[in-house]
């Protein structure tokens, strides 16, 4: 299955891009996406980022489906 990965704020600098497409096996979860080579740029920041799937906060074990948007969110600073 194919998902879109979106990078925001400093995550864009880490990734060198605002988005990319990722091919994953069926049944993959968020943690499987993060383990892919294409997202190895995020490794140093794994403990500080939050993830969202389709605009909702997700956990490492959240399932992924075809067409999902996985967003990489650095620590927020709005408000």
């Amino acid at each position: 299955m194919r998902i879109r990965v979106l990078f925001f704020a400093s995550a864009r600098e880490w990734a060198g891009s605002s988005k990319l497409e990722l091919e994953l096996p069926e049944g993959s979860r968020v943690q499987d996406a993060l383990g892919r080579r294409e997202l190895s740029c995020l490794a140093p920041w794994r403990s500080s980022i939050r993830l969202a799937v389709n605009e909702r906060f997700a956990r490492m074990d959240s399932p992924l489906h075809e067409g999902d948007a996985l967003a990489v969110l650095p620590p927020v600073s709005g408000g």
């Binding site: 400093s10 969202a52 605009e55 909702r56 600073s77 709005g78 408000g79």
Partner: protein
Amino acid sequence: MDADRIRLTTSPLDIGEAFRCVCGPDAGGTALFVGTVRDAEEGRPIAGIAYEAYEGMAFKELAACAAKAEERHGARVAVRHRLGAVPAGEASVVVAAAAPHREQAFQACREVIDSIKESVPIWKTSFLPAGLR
């Protein structure tokens, strides 16, 4: 919840408009919080702050923060958050909370701004006056 209670905008914020969005003859107290961009960051002067958002999710999270406070305190809540470049001295966020009594209004207002800072996907970057490094 009224769809216009939550707004993301690049335009300057109208504090009075946020108040009028929630006030009413049933609300004896309306609390307002205005977040203003300061002209210094860690002791160094800045010209302003630029805000970026994951807009679809930011809207949902703002609505969730507001709805939670409304339910807990019997309040009506409106939130406006500015995006893009906000010059120092201008408002970046307004939270208005109206309730029958001031205790609930203050609490709702406080909880909403605190939860915005915790969970809404908006990020800031300061910018300097033109010509300065």
